[in-house]
Protein backbone atom coordinates (compact mmCIF):
# COMPACT_ATOMS: atom_id res chain seq x y z
CA UNK A 1 0.00 0.00 0.00
CA UNK A 2 1.28 3.46 -0.83
CA UNK A 3 0.02 6.32 1.28
CA UNK A 4 0.89 9.65 -0.29
CA UNK A 5 2.07 12.43 1.99
CA UNK A 6 1.32 15.94 0.77
CA UNK A 7 3.89 18.62 1.48
CA UNK A 8 3.03 21.94 3.13
CA UNK A 9 3.15 23.73 -0.23
CA UNK A 10 0.50 21.38 -1.60
CA UNK A 11 -1.81 21.64 1.36
CA UNK A 12 -4.39 24.45 1.27
CA UNK A 13 -4.04 27.02 4.05
CA UNK A 14 -6.10 26.25 7.09
CA UNK A 15 -9.40 27.98 7.55
CA UNK A 16 -8.70 29.04 11.09
CA UNK A 17 -6.40 31.73 12.45
CA UNK A 18 -4.39 31.89 15.64
CA UNK A 19 -5.00 34.66 18.16
CA UNK A 20 -2.38 37.41 17.68
CA UNK A 21 -0.82 36.73 21.09
CA UNK A 22 0.42 33.30 20.04
CA UNK A 23 0.63 33.79 16.28
CA UNK A 24 4.41 34.14 16.34
CA UNK A 25 4.87 30.84 18.14
CA UNK A 26 2.79 28.76 15.85
CA UNK A 27 3.14 27.99 12.20
CA UNK A 28 0.32 27.54 9.77
CA UNK A 29 -2.18 28.26 12.50
CA UNK A 30 -1.27 25.56 14.97
CA UNK A 31 0.46 26.06 18.28
CA UNK A 32 1.98 23.34 20.43
CA UNK A 33 1.54 23.14 24.19
CA UNK A 34 3.20 20.61 26.44
CA UNK A 35 1.73 19.70 29.79
CA UNK A 36 3.03 17.48 32.49
CA UNK A 37 -0.13 15.61 33.13
CA UNK A 38 -3.25 15.86 31.10
CA UNK A 39 -6.55 17.61 31.06
CA UNK A 40 -9.31 15.24 31.96
CA UNK A 41 -12.91 16.12 31.44
CA UNK A 42 -15.94 14.22 32.48
CA UNK A 43 -19.09 14.84 30.55
CA UNK A 44 -19.69 16.86 27.44
CA UNK A 45 -18.21 20.32 27.66
CA UNK A 46 -17.25 20.74 24.06
CA UNK A 47 -16.26 24.27 23.22
CA UNK A 48 -16.28 25.42 26.85
CA UNK A 49 -13.53 27.61 28.22
CA UNK A 50 -11.22 25.76 30.55
CA UNK A 51 -8.43 28.20 31.20
CA UNK A 52 -6.59 31.34 30.31
CA UNK A 53 -3.17 31.54 28.69
CA UNK A 54 -1.39 34.78 29.50
CA UNK A 55 1.35 35.70 27.05
CA UNK A 56 2.00 39.24 28.29
CA UNK A 57 5.54 38.37 29.32
CA UNK A 58 6.82 36.31 26.47
CA UNK A 59 9.57 34.64 28.45
CA UNK A 60 7.09 33.62 31.09
CA UNK A 61 3.75 32.49 29.78
CA UNK A 62 1.25 31.42 32.41
CA UNK A 63 -1.67 29.12 32.22
CA UNK A 64 -4.53 29.43 34.59
CA UNK A 65 -6.99 26.64 34.99
CA UNK A 66 -9.54 27.22 37.70
CA UNK A 67 -7.64 28.05 40.88
CA UNK A 68 -4.37 26.67 39.54
CA UNK A 69 -1.67 28.76 38.00
CA UNK A 70 0.98 27.09 35.88
CA UNK A 71 4.15 28.86 34.99
CA UNK A 72 5.53 27.92 31.63
CA UNK A 73 8.32 28.60 29.32
CA UNK A 74 8.66 29.09 25.61
CA UNK A 75 11.24 26.70 24.17
CA UNK A 76 12.53 25.90 20.75
CA UNK A 77 12.39 22.28 19.63
CA UNK A 78 15.73 20.58 19.01
CA UNK A 79 14.34 19.21 15.76
CA UNK A 80 11.31 20.51 13.90
CA UNK A 81 8.11 18.52 14.13
CA UNK A 82 5.93 18.00 11.09
CA UNK A 83 2.25 17.77 11.87
CA UNK A 84 0.56 15.07 9.84
CA UNK A 85 -3.14 14.95 9.43
CA UNK A 86 -4.79 11.96 7.86
CA UNK A 87 -7.27 12.56 5.10
CA UNK A 88 -9.84 9.94 4.69
CA UNK A 89 -11.15 10.72 1.27
CA UNK A 90 -14.74 10.05 0.48
CA UNK A 91 -13.74 7.81 -2.38
CA UNK A 92 -15.13 4.31 -2.17
CA UNK A 93 -11.79 2.49 -2.14
CA UNK A 94 -11.06 4.06 1.22
CA UNK A 95 -7.82 5.65 0.13
CA UNK A 96 -5.86 7.25 2.92
CA UNK A 97 -3.43 10.09 2.53
CA UNK A 98 -1.56 12.35 4.89
CA UNK A 99 -1.10 16.10 4.76
CA UNK A 100 1.77 17.90 6.41
CA UNK A 101 -0.34 20.74 7.73
CA UNK A 102 2.29 22.46 9.78
CA UNK A 103 5.91 22.46 10.87
CA UNK A 104 6.35 23.24 14.54
CA UNK A 105 9.57 24.74 15.87
CA UNK A 106 8.53 26.15 19.23
CA UNK A 107 6.41 24.96 22.07
CA UNK A 108 5.09 26.32 25.33
CA UNK A 109 6.01 23.91 28.09
CA UNK A 110 4.30 23.80 31.47
CA UNK A 111 6.47 21.48 33.47
CA UNK A 112 6.22 22.98 36.93
CA UNK A 113 3.74 22.17 39.63
CA UNK A 114 0.70 24.41 39.66
CA UNK A 115 0.50 27.01 42.38
CA UNK A 116 -2.84 27.93 43.89
CA UNK A 117 -4.36 31.28 43.01
CA UNK A 118 -5.93 33.11 45.89
CA UNK A 119 -7.57 36.09 44.26
CA UNK A 120 -11.26 35.79 43.88
CA UNK A 121 -12.92 35.03 40.65
CA UNK A 122 -15.46 37.80 41.08
CA UNK A 123 -12.74 40.43 40.69
CA UNK A 124 -11.79 38.97 37.33
CA UNK A 125 -15.30 38.98 36.18
CA UNK A 126 -15.76 42.64 37.09
CA UNK A 127 -12.90 43.71 34.92
CA UNK A 128 -13.10 41.29 32.14
CA UNK A 129 -16.35 42.11 30.32
CA UNK A 130 -15.14 45.55 29.34
CA UNK A 131 -11.87 44.19 28.02
CA UNK A 132 -13.27 41.26 26.17
CA UNK A 133 -15.77 42.51 23.70
CA UNK A 134 -16.44 39.28 21.97
CA UNK A 135 -18.62 39.08 18.97
CA UNK A 136 -21.39 37.03 20.37
Amino acid sequence: MIIPVRLPSQVPSPDHALPPAVASIGFNELVLLELQGSIEIEGDYAGETIGMLDMSIESKPTLRIGHHLLEGKLTGLPKPLAVLKSNKTAEPDNEVSFDIVSIIRKKIVFSKRPSPVMDNVAKDELQEPSKRKRAA
Partner: protein, 377 residues
Protein backbone atom coordinates in the same frame (compact mmCIF):
# COMPACT_ATOMS: atom_id res chain seq x y z
CA UNK B 1 -5.05 43.07 21.16
CA UNK B 2 -5.03 41.29 24.39
CA UNK B 3 -2.12 39.12 25.42
CA UNK B 4 -4.49 36.78 27.18
CA UNK B 5 -5.86 33.87 25.25
CA UNK B 6 -8.73 31.79 26.46
CA UNK B 7 -8.38 28.06 26.01
CA UNK B 8 -11.37 26.04 24.94
CA UNK B 9 -12.03 22.38 24.70
CA UNK B 10 -12.46 21.23 21.16
CA UNK B 11 -15.91 22.11 19.97
CA UNK B 12 -16.69 18.86 18.28
CA UNK B 13 -15.41 15.96 20.31
CA UNK B 14 -16.89 13.50 17.87
CA UNK B 15 -14.66 15.04 15.25
CA UNK B 16 -11.48 14.40 17.21
CA UNK B 17 -11.10 10.95 15.79
CA UNK B 18 -11.33 12.25 12.26
CA UNK B 19 -8.69 14.94 12.61
CA UNK B 20 -6.13 13.16 14.66
CA UNK B 21 -2.75 14.73 14.32
CA UNK B 22 0.49 12.81 14.26
CA UNK B 23 3.81 14.42 15.00
CA UNK B 24 6.84 13.51 12.97
CA UNK B 25 10.26 14.65 14.08
CA UNK B 26 12.42 15.71 11.16
CA UNK B 27 16.15 16.20 10.71
CA UNK B 28 16.73 19.88 9.98
CA UNK B 29 17.95 19.50 6.40
CA UNK B 30 15.13 17.11 5.56
CA UNK B 31 12.71 19.66 6.94
CA UNK B 32 14.15 22.36 4.69
CA UNK B 33 13.46 20.19 1.68
CA UNK B 34 9.92 19.60 2.81
CA UNK B 35 9.31 23.31 3.24
CA UNK B 36 10.85 24.30 -0.05
CA UNK B 37 8.01 24.31 -2.58
CA UNK B 38 10.55 23.98 -5.42
CA UNK B 39 12.39 20.96 -4.09
CA UNK B 40 10.26 18.61 -6.17
CA UNK B 41 10.22 16.26 -3.23
CA UNK B 42 7.63 13.51 -3.17
CA UNK B 43 6.81 11.69 0.01
CA UNK B 44 4.85 8.57 0.72
CA UNK B 45 4.44 5.95 3.38
CA UNK B 46 4.79 2.39 2.19
CA UNK B 47 4.09 -1.04 3.49
CA UNK B 48 1.67 -3.90 3.63
CA UNK B 49 -0.56 -4.34 6.59
CA UNK B 50 1.56 -5.66 9.44
CA UNK B 51 4.79 -4.21 8.09
CA UNK B 52 6.74 -1.59 9.97
CA UNK B 53 5.92 1.43 7.87
CA UNK B 54 8.62 3.28 6.00
CA UNK B 55 8.69 6.80 4.64
CA UNK B 56 10.01 7.06 1.11
CA UNK B 57 11.20 9.96 -0.95
CA UNK B 58 11.89 9.25 -4.59
CA UNK B 59 15.43 8.25 -3.80
CA UNK B 60 15.64 7.24 -0.14
CA UNK B 61 13.92 5.07 2.42
CA UNK B 62 13.46 5.94 6.08
CA UNK B 63 12.18 3.70 8.85
CA UNK B 64 9.40 5.24 10.91
CA UNK B 65 9.89 4.75 14.62
CA UNK B 66 7.41 5.66 17.24
CA UNK B 67 8.62 7.19 20.50
CA UNK B 68 6.41 7.47 23.55
CA UNK B 69 6.57 10.58 25.66
CA UNK B 70 5.19 10.92 29.15
CA UNK B 71 4.15 14.55 28.88
CA UNK B 72 1.04 15.43 26.97
CA UNK B 73 1.49 17.40 23.79
CA UNK B 74 -1.52 19.40 22.73
CA UNK B 75 -1.97 21.05 19.39
CA UNK B 76 -4.24 24.04 19.56
CA UNK B 77 -5.80 25.95 16.73
CA UNK B 78 -7.56 29.28 16.51
CA UNK B 79 -11.12 30.04 15.64
CA UNK B 80 -12.40 29.65 12.14
CA UNK B 81 -11.55 32.46 9.77
CA UNK B 82 -15.19 32.85 8.95
CA UNK B 83 -15.72 34.31 12.37
CA UNK B 84 -14.11 37.49 13.57
CA UNK B 85 -10.57 37.21 14.90
CA UNK B 86 -10.81 36.28 18.55
CA UNK B 87 -8.53 35.47 21.42
CA UNK B 88 -9.65 31.89 21.52
CA UNK B 89 -7.63 28.72 21.18
CA UNK B 90 -9.19 25.31 20.78
CA UNK B 91 -7.28 22.38 22.25
CA UNK B 92 -6.86 19.15 20.37
CA UNK B 93 -6.56 15.79 22.04
CA UNK B 94 -3.47 14.79 24.00
CA UNK B 95 -0.65 13.29 21.98
CA UNK B 96 1.70 10.90 23.73
CA UNK B 97 3.61 9.60 20.78
CA UNK B 98 5.89 11.19 18.25
CA UNK B 99 7.51 9.51 15.27
CA UNK B 100 11.11 9.77 14.19
CA UNK B 101 12.66 8.85 10.89
CA UNK B 102 15.87 6.88 10.55
CA UNK B 103 17.59 6.25 7.21
CA UNK B 104 17.37 2.58 6.36
CA UNK B 105 18.38 0.27 3.57
CA UNK B 106 15.50 -0.42 1.20
CA UNK B 107 13.55 -3.51 2.15
CA UNK B 108 13.72 -5.35 -1.11
CA UNK B 109 14.04 -8.91 0.20
CA UNK B 110 10.41 -9.45 -0.68
CA UNK B 111 11.07 -8.68 -4.31
CA UNK B 112 12.60 -12.00 -5.31
CA UNK B 113 10.13 -13.98 -3.25
CA UNK B 114 7.24 -12.40 -5.07
CA UNK B 115 8.74 -13.01 -8.46
CA UNK B 116 9.52 -16.64 -7.75
CA UNK B 117 7.79 -18.67 -10.40
CA UNK B 118 7.75 -15.92 -12.99
CA UNK B 119 11.33 -16.45 -14.12
CA UNK B 120 12.08 -16.04 -17.76
CA UNK B 121 12.29 -19.42 -19.44
CA UNK B 122 14.56 -20.35 -22.26
CA UNK B 123 12.23 -21.46 -25.01
CA UNK B 124 9.14 -19.43 -24.37
CA UNK B 125 9.37 -16.37 -26.60
CA UNK B 126 8.17 -16.44 -30.14
CA UNK B 127 5.77 -19.34 -29.97
CA UNK B 128 2.76 -18.08 -28.11
CA UNK B 129 0.75 -21.26 -28.34
CA UNK B 130 3.47 -23.30 -26.75
CA UNK B 131 3.75 -20.82 -23.98
CA UNK B 132 0.11 -21.06 -23.09
CA UNK B 133 0.26 -24.82 -22.86
CA UNK B 134 3.46 -24.97 -20.87
CA UNK B 135 2.99 -22.08 -18.58
CA UNK B 136 0.93 -22.60 -15.55
CA UNK B 137 -1.18 -19.58 -14.80
CA UNK B 138 1.27 -17.90 -12.47
CA UNK B 139 0.64 -14.45 -11.13
CA UNK B 140 2.73 -11.92 -12.99
CA UNK B 141 3.66 -8.57 -11.53
CA UNK B 142 4.15 -5.20 -13.11
CA UNK B 143 6.46 -2.56 -11.75
CA UNK B 144 3.47 -0.73 -10.28
CA UNK B 145 2.30 -3.88 -8.48
CA UNK B 146 5.69 -4.21 -6.85
CA UNK B 147 5.91 -0.54 -5.89
CA UNK B 148 2.79 -1.08 -3.81
CA UNK B 149 4.35 -3.72 -1.58
CA UNK B 150 8.12 -3.30 -1.70
CA UNK B 151 9.27 -0.89 0.98
CA UNK B 152 11.72 1.08 -1.06
CA UNK B 153 11.81 4.36 -2.93
CA UNK B 154 11.15 4.29 -6.66
CA UNK B 155 14.80 4.84 -7.44
CA UNK B 156 15.94 2.10 -5.09
CA UNK B 157 13.35 -0.29 -6.48
CA UNK B 158 14.48 0.42 -10.03
CA UNK B 159 18.06 -0.20 -8.94
CA UNK B 160 17.10 -3.45 -7.22
CA UNK B 161 15.27 -4.65 -10.33
CA UNK B 162 18.36 -3.95 -12.38
CA UNK B 163 20.75 -5.46 -9.85
CA UNK B 164 18.75 -8.62 -9.52
CA UNK B 165 18.63 -8.95 -13.29
CA UNK B 166 14.90 -8.81 -13.67
CA UNK B 167 13.64 -8.40 -17.20
CA UNK B 168 10.66 -6.26 -18.00
CA UNK B 169 8.86 -8.02 -20.82
CA UNK B 170 5.47 -6.79 -22.07
CA UNK B 171 5.14 -4.78 -18.87
CA UNK B 172 5.70 -7.77 -16.59
CA UNK B 173 8.75 -8.36 -14.47
CA UNK B 174 10.55 -11.65 -15.05
CA UNK B 175 13.79 -12.53 -13.30
CA UNK B 176 16.42 -13.80 -15.68
CA UNK B 177 17.91 -16.94 -14.11
CA UNK B 178 21.60 -16.70 -13.48
CA UNK B 179 22.71 -19.64 -15.61
CA UNK B 180 20.83 -18.09 -18.50
CA UNK B 181 22.35 -14.69 -17.92
CA UNK B 182 25.92 -16.00 -17.81
CA UNK B 183 25.26 -17.87 -21.01
CA UNK B 184 24.14 -14.67 -22.74
CA UNK B 185 27.21 -12.84 -21.44
CA UNK B 186 29.52 -15.58 -22.67
CA UNK B 187 27.75 -15.32 -26.06
CA UNK B 188 28.52 -11.61 -25.98
CA UNK B 189 32.19 -12.20 -25.22
CA UNK B 190 32.55 -14.82 -27.94
CA UNK B 191 30.61 -12.70 -30.45
CA UNK B 192 32.93 -9.78 -29.85
CA UNK B 193 35.88 -11.99 -30.62
CA UNK B 194 34.46 -14.00 -33.51
CA UNK B 195 33.14 -10.91 -35.28
CA UNK B 196 36.24 -8.90 -34.50
CA UNK B 197 34.28 -6.10 -32.80
CA UNK B 198 36.42 -3.61 -30.93
CA UNK B 199 35.54 -3.38 -27.23
CA UNK B 200 35.49 0.40 -27.52
CA UNK B 201 33.09 0.53 -30.45
CA UNK B 202 30.20 -1.87 -30.04
CA UNK B 203 27.06 -1.24 -32.06
CA UNK B 204 23.95 -2.26 -30.17
CA UNK B 205 22.12 -3.17 -33.32
CA UNK B 206 24.89 -5.36 -34.65
CA UNK B 207 25.41 -7.15 -31.35
CA UNK B 208 21.73 -7.83 -30.65
CA UNK B 209 21.34 -9.08 -34.23
CA UNK B 210 24.25 -11.50 -33.78
CA UNK B 211 22.80 -12.71 -30.47
CA UNK B 212 19.45 -13.29 -32.10
CA UNK B 213 20.70 -15.01 -35.24
CA UNK B 214 23.45 -17.14 -33.80
CA UNK B 215 22.27 -17.78 -30.26
CA UNK B 216 18.51 -17.24 -30.44
CA UNK B 217 18.43 -14.58 -27.76
CA UNK B 218 15.47 -12.25 -28.46
CA UNK B 219 16.36 -8.60 -28.92
CA UNK B 220 13.98 -7.57 -26.12
CA UNK B 221 16.04 -9.68 -23.72
CA UNK B 222 19.53 -8.93 -25.00
CA UNK B 223 18.90 -5.19 -25.05
CA UNK B 224 18.02 -5.20 -21.37
CA UNK B 225 21.05 -7.34 -20.58
CA UNK B 226 23.21 -4.76 -22.38
CA UNK B 227 21.65 -2.03 -20.27
CA UNK B 228 22.44 -3.91 -17.06
CA UNK B 229 26.05 -4.40 -18.03
CA UNK B 230 26.85 -1.04 -19.49
CA UNK B 231 25.38 2.12 -20.91
CA UNK B 232 23.71 2.56 -24.24
CA UNK B 233 24.46 5.88 -25.85
CA UNK B 234 23.87 6.83 -29.47
CA UNK B 235 23.14 3.19 -30.28
CA UNK B 236 26.61 2.27 -29.02
CA UNK B 237 27.11 -0.03 -26.08
CA UNK B 238 29.64 1.16 -23.55
CA UNK B 239 30.34 -2.13 -21.84
CA UNK B 240 30.86 -2.27 -18.10
CA UNK B 241 33.66 -4.74 -18.49
CA UNK B 242 34.18 -5.35 -14.81
CA UNK B 243 30.53 -6.17 -14.17
CA UNK B 244 30.30 -8.43 -17.20
CA UNK B 245 33.43 -10.35 -16.29
CA UNK B 246 32.19 -10.59 -12.71
CA UNK B 247 28.84 -12.03 -13.77
CA UNK B 248 30.48 -14.69 -15.89
CA UNK B 249 32.64 -15.60 -12.89
CA UNK B 250 29.57 -15.89 -10.68
CA UNK B 251 27.93 -18.12 -13.26
CA UNK B 252 30.94 -20.42 -13.24
CA UNK B 253 31.16 -20.47 -9.46
CA UNK B 254 27.47 -21.04 -8.86
CA UNK B 255 27.34 -24.82 -9.38
CA UNK B 256 29.86 -25.25 -6.54
CA UNK B 257 27.64 -24.51 -3.60
CA UNK B 258 28.07 -27.92 -2.00
CA UNK B 259 31.15 -29.15 -3.80
CA UNK B 260 34.35 -27.21 -3.85
CA UNK B 261 36.44 -26.35 -6.83
CA UNK B 262 40.15 -25.63 -6.99
CA UNK B 263 40.73 -21.92 -7.18
CA UNK B 264 43.16 -22.29 -10.06
CA UNK B 265 40.68 -24.38 -12.02
CA UNK B 266 37.92 -21.83 -11.58
CA UNK B 267 40.17 -18.98 -12.64
CA UNK B 268 41.29 -20.91 -15.71
CA UNK B 269 37.78 -21.62 -16.93
CA UNK B 270 36.76 -18.06 -16.12
CA UNK B 271 39.57 -16.59 -18.21
CA UNK B 272 38.72 -19.00 -20.95
CA UNK B 273 35.05 -17.94 -20.97
CA UNK B 274 35.69 -14.22 -21.24
CA UNK B 275 38.40 -14.56 -23.87
CA UNK B 276 41.94 -13.29 -24.06
CA UNK B 277 41.08 -9.61 -24.23
CA UNK B 278 39.32 -9.63 -20.88
CA UNK B 279 41.18 -12.47 -19.18
CA UNK B 280 43.32 -10.20 -17.04
CA UNK B 281 40.20 -8.77 -15.43
CA UNK B 282 39.08 -12.09 -14.00
CA UNK B 283 40.01 -11.76 -10.36
CA UNK B 284 38.53 -13.25 -7.20
CA UNK B 285 38.14 -9.73 -5.80
CA UNK B 286 35.24 -9.29 -8.21
CA UNK B 287 33.37 -12.09 -6.47
CA UNK B 288 33.63 -10.58 -3.00
CA UNK B 289 30.79 -11.64 -0.75
CA UNK B 290 29.94 -14.61 -2.93
CA UNK B 291 32.48 -17.27 -2.04
CA UNK B 292 34.30 -19.04 0.74
CA UNK B 293 37.94 -20.04 0.45
CA UNK B 294 39.36 -23.18 1.99
CA UNK B 295 43.09 -23.52 2.52
CA UNK B 296 44.92 -26.46 1.05
CA UNK B 297 44.59 -29.63 3.12
CA UNK B 298 45.33 -33.31 2.83
CA UNK B 299 42.73 -33.98 0.15
CA UNK B 300 43.40 -30.87 -1.87
CA UNK B 301 46.83 -29.70 -2.66
CA UNK B 302 45.73 -26.20 -3.52
CA UNK B 303 43.29 -23.64 -2.18
CA UNK B 304 39.67 -24.47 -2.95
CA UNK B 305 36.61 -22.27 -3.26
CA UNK B 306 32.86 -22.69 -2.98
CA UNK B 307 29.84 -20.56 -3.84
CA UNK B 308 28.34 -18.78 -0.85
CA UNK B 309 26.39 -15.72 -1.93
CA UNK B 310 25.45 -13.13 0.65
CA UNK B 311 22.31 -12.35 -1.31
CA UNK B 312 20.91 -15.70 -0.18
CA UNK B 313 21.45 -14.88 3.48
CA UNK B 314 18.92 -13.22 5.72
CA UNK B 315 18.79 -9.43 5.84
CA UNK B 316 17.98 -9.52 9.52
CA UNK B 317 21.30 -9.00 11.34
CA UNK B 318 20.70 -11.58 14.07
CA UNK B 319 19.71 -14.29 11.60
CA UNK B 320 22.54 -13.30 9.30
CA UNK B 321 25.09 -13.78 12.05
CA UNK B 322 23.57 -17.15 13.02
CA UNK B 323 23.83 -18.28 9.42
CA UNK B 324 27.40 -17.08 9.15
CA UNK B 325 28.53 -18.78 12.34
CA UNK B 326 26.76 -21.98 11.39
CA UNK B 327 28.73 -21.99 8.18
CA UNK B 328 32.02 -21.20 9.79
CA UNK B 329 32.83 -21.03 13.48
CA UNK B 330 35.67 -18.59 13.19
CA UNK B 331 35.88 -15.76 10.70
CA UNK B 332 38.73 -13.51 9.70
CA UNK B 333 37.70 -9.88 9.89
CA UNK B 334 38.07 -9.16 6.18
CA UNK B 335 36.13 -12.31 5.35
CA UNK B 336 33.15 -11.63 7.56
CA UNK B 337 32.92 -7.95 6.58
CA UNK B 338 32.27 -9.01 2.99
CA UNK B 339 29.11 -10.71 4.20
CA UNK B 340 27.87 -7.70 6.16
CA UNK B 341 28.36 -4.90 3.67
CA UNK B 342 24.97 -5.38 2.12
CA UNK B 343 23.03 -5.07 5.37
CA UNK B 344 25.01 -2.21 6.89
CA UNK B 345 24.61 1.36 5.65
CA UNK B 346 28.27 2.16 6.21
CA UNK B 347 31.48 1.00 7.86
CA UNK B 348 30.40 2.35 11.23
CA UNK B 349 27.17 0.40 11.15
CA UNK B 350 29.15 -2.67 10.15
CA UNK B 351 31.41 -2.30 13.19
CA UNK B 352 28.38 -1.81 15.39
CA UNK B 353 26.85 -5.07 14.13
CA UNK B 354 30.10 -6.93 14.76
CA UNK B 355 30.28 -5.50 18.28
CA UNK B 356 26.74 -6.51 19.00
CA UNK B 357 26.58 -9.96 17.49
CA UNK B 358 30.13 -11.30 17.42
CA UNK B 359 33.05 -11.78 19.75
CA UNK B 360 36.34 -10.28 18.64
CA UNK B 361 39.66 -11.88 19.29
CA UNK B 362 43.12 -11.16 18.01
CA UNK B 363 45.79 -13.78 17.41
CA UNK B 364 49.39 -13.19 18.21
CA UNK B 365 50.26 -12.32 14.63
CA UNK B 366 47.69 -9.52 14.68
CA UNK B 367 44.97 -11.24 12.66
CA UNK B 368 41.54 -10.40 14.01
CA UNK B 369 38.98 -13.17 14.25
CA UNK B 370 35.30 -13.12 15.05
CA UNK B 371 33.42 -15.92 16.74
CA UNK B 372 29.82 -16.28 17.83
CA UNK B 373 28.63 -14.70 21.02
CA UNK B 374 27.13 -17.33 23.20
CA UNK B 375 23.44 -16.72 23.57
CA UNK B 376 23.02 -15.25 20.13
CA UNK B 377 23.52 -18.39 18.13
Amino acid sequence: MSQVVSLHLNRTPSDVKGTKYRLLELPTDFCKQIEDPNSGLKLCIKGREGDDAVLCTETKTYALRSVNISNALILANGASRAEEATDDLFLGSDIHEIMEIVPTIPRIARLLGMLRGSEYGEDEPGSDTEMQVDDEPTRRYTRQDLAQVIQASDEELAKAIKQNHILELDGYLRPLPMHHLSKILVYIFTSLISHGISRKDISVEQLTAILKDEHEVPVSVSRQVLEWFGDIEDSKWKMNEKASVQQVGLGLLRPYSHLKVKEVELLASWRDAVGDVFADQADLKLLRGNFLLYPADGANTSQTISYFPRSKLSTDPLTRFSELFLTRVKWKEEDIVAFLEDIAVDKKECDRLLMKFARRSAERDGTVYYTARSGHV
